[in-house]
C-alpha cells in the first residue's frame, strides 16, 4: 500500500451546504481547528437550489406569528411524527439564525418599514419565509461562504495563514468514517477518530484524523429517476453513518415536491418553487378546473378555503378568509396532481397546469419570481408571464436520516459522530414544510458545530486510525479499477458499467418505491436492489484516478444502494399512509403508527455477500410530547393524530 497522507484536526465537517458551513463556523468560533470537506467546489452545494425562503416566525409581516404557531404548523405538516423536541428547538431558534445572517452581510428582501420581508408558503399559517426573490438558497450559501472567508481573514491576520483554523477541502469525497477499535466486554463499539477521503481532482487518498465528525451531506434524491436533486445527493452521509454503526430512522418518508418541470425531458424534475403558489399561482387540470378544492383532507378541512372566491380574498385579507388549497402541505398537493394525471386530466406532457400569468402582471412575476421566469424561458421556451407552466411531482427531499439526540445533534450509538440538515432524521416527521429546510440547516448546523466542538475539546486520549482500517478503505475505493481481473471464482462475468447500474437503480426506485406504493412492488424492488448490489461489486472503470467521473459514480453506488434498501424496507414495513409515505394498499393514516419510528441498521457490520439483506429493521417510539407543547393544540385536532391512550395521559 502506498503511503496515505494524514492530517490532524479537531472537527471534520462532511458537506459544505447550509448545515455544514453553519456547523463549521460554530466549531471554529468555539476555538476548534475545523476542516470542511465537500464533493463540489466551495459555494456550489445543493443549498443554492433552495428557492422559496427560510421559515422563521419573526412576525415582520403578520404580528400574530410566534414560535408556538411555527411549531404547530411544523407538527401538522409532519403529521405529528416529528421529534417534537427538534421541532420546538427549530421554531424557537430560527429567527435568531436569520437575523445573524444579516450581521454577516445577507441582503433579504425588505418590508415597507425596512424589516426582512416574509412570504406565504404551504402549511405555514402566516407569511413566514424570509427570502431574496426566488434565490434564497444562493443568498444563504454565499453568506455562509463569505463568513467562512471572513474567519479565514482573521486567522490570516493572527497566524499568517488563511487555513490555520478553518480549511475547506473542496472536490473531495469521504468514503469511510474511521473508528477506534471496539472495546470488548463493554458497550463501547468504538469512537470516531477520523475520515478516509479522496481528492476528486487527483484521485489521491488522504486521512483526516479528528475526534468529531459532523455529517452534513444532504439527501438521497439521485436514487430516483425524476428528482430535483443534483448529482451530489447520493446518500453519502446516510451510508457513512450506517457503515459506522449508527442507525437511520424514518427512511420511508421521501418528499415528492408537487411541482417539478415535466418538459422537455432533459429537465424533467427540476424544481418549480412553491413561491409560485405562495404568491398567487393556481393549479388547473386539462378541464381548466382548480382541482385542489377536491383534495382537502379531513384533518385540514377547517383551515382551507372552500371556494375560489374565498381563496382569492385570502391574499389581501388573511384574517377573515382561509387560504387556498394550493397551499396545502406538499405531500397532499403531490398526491392530488398524481391522481389528476392518472384520471386523464393531465397536461400534454403528463403534468398539470400551474398558472401565474392570469394572476399577476408580468412585471410583478419577473420581480418576484425571476429565476422561474428565466428557467422556463431558457429551458422550455415557455413565457410564464403569458402562459401556464406544466408541472408534476419530483423526488425532492428525504425526511428520514441519522437518528440524533435533538439538543446536541449527536448520532445515536457512535461517540463523536454528529449529523445536521437533511442527513439527520426526526425534525420534519413524515413530511417537511417548504421553508423549514433552510431554517433546519441553520438551527441544527449551529447546534452540531457547537456540540461537536465541545465533544472534541473533551477528548484527550484518542488513538490514531489504525493502518488496517485505512488499508481496507483504500482497497474498497480501488475495487472498480480491478473489476476485470478480480474474483476469478465468479467465472466469466464481465465488469458492469456504473452508469447503466445507476440508471437501473433510478428506474426501480421511481417505478416501485415512488410516490404511491404497493406491497408487491416494494418486494420486487428489494429483489432488484439485491441483484444490483451484486452487480455493483463488479462496477468497473476505465482510465486512471485523475478526475474520473466513472470511478466516482462506482463508489457512490454503494451509498445509493444502501440507502435505497432502507427506503424500500421501511416503506414495506409501514402499513399506513402518512406524509411522504403513501400506500395504495393501506390508504388511511393509523394513529397507532404515529409515534413509531422504523430504525434501519446494518445487518452484517463486518460485510457478507452483497446479495444478502444489508439492512435490519427495528422499531423505536418517540418519547411522549411534552404537555405544554400539547396544550398548543385543540383537543379535537389532537384526537385526529394521537391514540386514545396518549390522549388520556
Amino acid at each position: 500500500m502506498a503511503h496515505v497522507d494524514r492530517q490532524t484536526w479537531d472537527v471534520v465537517v462532511v458537506g459544505a451546504g447550509g448545515a455544514g458551513l453553519r456547523a463549521a463556523i460554530e466549531a471554529r468560533e468555539a476555538g476548534m481547528r475545523t476542516a470542511v470537506i465537500c464533493k463540489s467546489l466551495f459555494g456550489k452545494a445543493h443549498t443554492v437550489m433552495a428557492e422559496g425562503g427560510i421559515a422563521a416566525s419573526m412576525g415582520n409581516v403578520n404580528e400574530g406569528d410566534n414560535w408556538q404557531v411555527h411549531f404547530r404548523d411544523t407538527m401538522r405538516g409532519g403529521k405529528f411524527l416529528n421529534h417534537w423536541r427538534m421541532a420546538e428547538l427549530h421554531a424557537r431558534e430560527a429567527p435568531d439564525r436569520v437575523w445573524e445572517l444579516e450581521t454577516w452581510g445577507a441582503l433579504f428582501d425588505r418590508t415597507k418599514d425596512g424589516r426582512i420581508s416574509q412570504r406565504n408558503f404551504g402549511g405555514h399559517e402566516y407569511p413566514r419565509l424570509a427570502h431574496v426573490g426566488d434565490r434564497t438558497g444562493l443568498e444563504l450559501i454565499r453568506t455562509l461562504q463569505q463568513k467562512i472567508v471572513a474567519l479565514q481573514q482573521e486567522d490570516e491576520r493572527e497566524f499568517g495563514a488563511y487555513d490555520a483554523r478553518l480549511k475547506v477541502f473542496q472536490e473531495s469525497t469521504v468514503t469511510r468514517v474511521l473508528k477506534t477499535p471496539a472495546e470488548p466486554g463493554t458497550a463501547n463499539g468504538g469512537r470516531v477518530c477520523g475520515a478516509f477521503c479522496y481528492e476528486r481532482e487527483s484521485g489521491r487518498f488522504f486521512v483526516l484524523e479528528a475526534p468529531a465528525v459532523v455529517l452534513a451531506t444532504g439527501g438521497i434524491g439521485k436514487s430516483f429517476k425524476v428528482t430535483s436533486n443534483s448529482w451530489e445527493y447520493t446518500g453519502d452521509g446516510h451510508a457513512l453513518a450506517l457503515l459506522a454503526g449508527a442507525p437511520l430512522i424514518n427512511m420511508e418518508f421521501v418528499q415528492f415536491h408537487p411541482t417539478g418541470m415535466v418538459w422537455p425531458p432533459s429537465v424533467k424534475g427540476i424544481l418549480v418553487t412553491e413561491s409560485v403558489r405562495g404568491d398567487g399561482g393556481v393549479l388547473r387540470n386539462s378541464d381548466g378546473k382548480r382541482f385542489m378544492f377536491d383534495y382537502v383532507p379531513d384533518v385540514f378541512k377547517e383551515k382551507y378555503a372552500q371556494s375560489e372566491e374565498e381563496g382569492d380574498r385570502w391574499y389581501d385579507d388573511p384574517d377573515h378568509n382561509r387560504r387556498p388549497p394550493e397551499l396545502l402541505p406538499r405531500d397532499e398537493v403531490a398526491r392530488a396532481i398524481n391522481s389528476e394525471v392518472k384520471a386523464g386530466r393531465g397536461s400534454p406532457h403528463g403534468g398539470v397546469f400551474l398558472d401565474v400569468s392570469t394572476r399577476m402582471p408580468a412585471e410583478v412575476i419577473k420581480r418576484r419570481l425571476p429565476s422561474m421566469y428565466h428557467q422556463f424561458k431558457e429551458l422550455a421556451d415557455v413565457d410564464i408571464t403569458a402562459e401556464p407552466m406544466e408541472v408534476g411531482p419530483t423526488c425532492h427531499y428525504v425526511m428520514g436520516g441519522v437518528e440524533v439526540e435533538p439538543d446536541t445533534a449527536a448520532a445515536r450509538g457512535v461517540p463523536g459522530l454528529f449529523a445536521a440538515g437533511e442527513v439527520a432524521g426526526g425534525m420534519h416527521g413524515s413530511n417537511r414544510l417548504g421553508g423549514n429546510s433552510l431554517s433546519d440547516l441553520l438551527v441544527f448546523g449551529r447546534r452540531a458545530g457547537l456540540h461537536a466542538a465541545a465533544y472534541a475539546a473533551s477528548v484527550t486520549d484518542l488513538p490514531a486510525p489504525d493502518e488496517e482500517q485505512i488499508a481496507a478503505a483504500e482497497a474498497e475505493a480501488l475495487r472498480p479499477f480491478r473489476a476485470g481481473d478480480e474474483e476469478p471464482a465468479a467465472g466469466a462475468e464481465p465488469p458492469e458499467n456504473p452508469y447503466t447500474l445507476h440508471q437501473e437503480l433510478q428506474q426501480a426506485m421511481n417505478d416501485l418505491v415512488g410516490i404511491i406504493r404497493k406491497e408487491g412492488e416494494m418486494a420486487e424492488a428489494l429483489k432488484r436492489l439485491a441483484g444490483l448490489r451484486a452487480r455493483a461489486r463488479r462496477a468497473g472503470v476505465e482510465g486512471h484516478r485523475q478526475y474520473n467521473p466513472g470511478w466516482h459514480l462506482s463508489l457512490d453506488l454503494r451509498n445509493m444502494l444502501l440507502v435505497s434498501e432502507c427506503v424500500a424496507r421501511a416503506a414495506l414495513e409501514r402499513t399506513e399512509s402518512r406524509g411522504g409515505h403513501t400506500r395504495d394498499d393501506h390508504a388511511a393514516m393509523d394513529r397507532n403508527w404515529r409515534d413509531i419510528n422504523l430504525v434501519c441498521e446494518l445487518a452484517a457490520p463486518h460485510g457478507g455477500p452483497p446479495a444478502a439483506d444489508q439492512i435490519r429493521l427495528s422499531r423505536r417510539t418517540t418519547p411522549p410530547i411534552r404537555p405544554d407543547l400539547l396544550e398548543l393544540f385543540e383537543q379535537e385536532e389532537l384526537a385526529k393524530y394521537l391514540t386514545d391512550e396518549e390522549l388520556s395521559r
Binding site: 443554492v48 441582503l107 472567508v149 488563511y162 428557467q375 467521473p549
Partner: protein
C-alpha cells in the same frame, strides 16, 4: 442536415468535438452522438460519458443554471453547459466544447479555478455596524436592490475567464481581482449598512490601489457572458470607478459615463 435526422422532431446524430487531455498534452476528440428534443449541451456530454467516454471529466452540479459549476467554452464562447440548449445550433453544425481558456486545465473540460478563491480571500469582508444588534437592521428595498443584483452572481467565473485583462495575460493576474471580485467590492460599498469606513477601510480606494480596478477599460466582455444577466460593467464597475475617481482621476470614468448616457 436532413441525412442526420432520424425523425421529424425526435433524435438526431450530432457531431461533437471535445477537448480531452491534461496539463501536459491534449487535443480535440470527435464524437458522433445522439441528441433528443429539448436537450442542453451538458446532456450530450453526459451521454458521451455513459456510452463512449466514461472517464470524460466535466464539472457540474445543479444542472439548472443556479450553481455555476459547468462553465466551459462552446464554439469558443464562454457559457454554462447546462443552460446552452442544443436547439440554438444548426443540426449539421459541429459543436466544439473546450475548457475555459482563462484557467489552467486539470483534465478534459475541468479547469483549476483556484485563482478565484484566492482573490475572494483578498476582498475585505462585510463590516457589521457596531451599534446595531441582530434583528435591528432596517433597510429600504430600493437601497438593497443595487447590491442584490450583484448577489445574484452564481460564481461561474465566466466573466473572469473572458476578461481580456487576464485571459491572455497571466502576468496581470496577481494585481487584478477580475470583474467578479471588483463587483464584490462594489456590492459591499453599496451595502446600506456596511461599516467599513467607520472601521477605517476605504473600499473605493482599495479597489483602485489593491485590486486593480484601473486595469479595467470597460469593454463589457464580462457583462456579455454573464448567465445571470448582471450588468457588471454599467452597474458595478463604472460606478466604482466614479467613486474611486472622487479621489483619483481616471479618464475611463469620463468615457464610461459618455457611453452610458448614449445608451439611455
Amino acid at each position: 442536415m436532413s441525412e442526420q435526422q432520424t425523425g421529424q422532431s425526435g433524435a438526431y446524430q450530432a457531431h461533437f468535438r471535445v477537448w480531452r487531455g491534461d496539463p501536459d498534452d491534449g487535443g480535440l476528440t470527435d464524437f458522433r452522438v445522439e441528441v433528443h428534443e429539448g436537450e442542453v449541451v451538458l446532456d450530450i456530454v453526459h451521454r458521451l460519458q455513459a456510452t463512449q467516454a466514461p472517464d470524460l471529466a466535466v464539472r457540474w452540479n445543479c444542472k439548472a443554471g443556479k450553481c455555476g459549476s459547468c462553465s466551459a467554452e462552446i464554439n469558443g464562447r464562454p457559457r454554462l453547459l447546462c443552460m446552452t440548449r442544443m436547439s440554438v445550433f444548426d443540426r449539421a453544425e459541429t459543436i466544439t466544447v473546450t475548457p475555459m481558456r482563462g484557467f489552467p486545465v486539470v483534465r478534459d473540460l475541468v479547469t483549476d479555478v483556484s485563482f478565484n478563491y484566492a482573490k475572494a480571500r483578498e476582498i475585505p469582508a462585510f463590516v457589521p455596524p457596531e451599534e446595531l444588534a441582530p434583528g435591528e437592521y432596517r433597510m429600504q428595498q430600493e437601497d438593497v436592490s443595487r447590491s442584490q443584483e450583484f448577489r445574484k452572481c452564481i460564481e461561474c467565473f465566466l466573466c473572469q475567464d473572458t476578461c481580456h485583462v487576464v485571459r491572455d495575460h497571466e502576468e496581470n493576474k496577481s494585481a487584478f481581482a477580475g470583474p467578479r471580485f471588483l463587483m464584490r467590492i462594489a456590492e459591499l460599498d453599496m451595502h446600506p449598512l456596511d461599516a467599513a469606513s467607520a472601521a477605517g477601510l476605504d473600499r473605493k480606494r482599495t479597489a483602485q490601489d489593491a485590486h486593480g480596478l484601473g486595469y479595467c477599460n470597460i469593454t463589457k466582455c464580462c457583462t456579455e457572458v454573464c448567465p445571470e444577466g448582471i450588468k457588471i460593467t454599467d452597474n458595478a464597475l463604472i460606478p466604482l470607478k466614479e467613486r474611486a475617481a472622487d479621489r483619483k482621476y481616471d479618464p475611463l470614468v469620463w468615457l464610461g459615463s459618455k457611453i452610458r448616457r448614449r445608451k439611455e
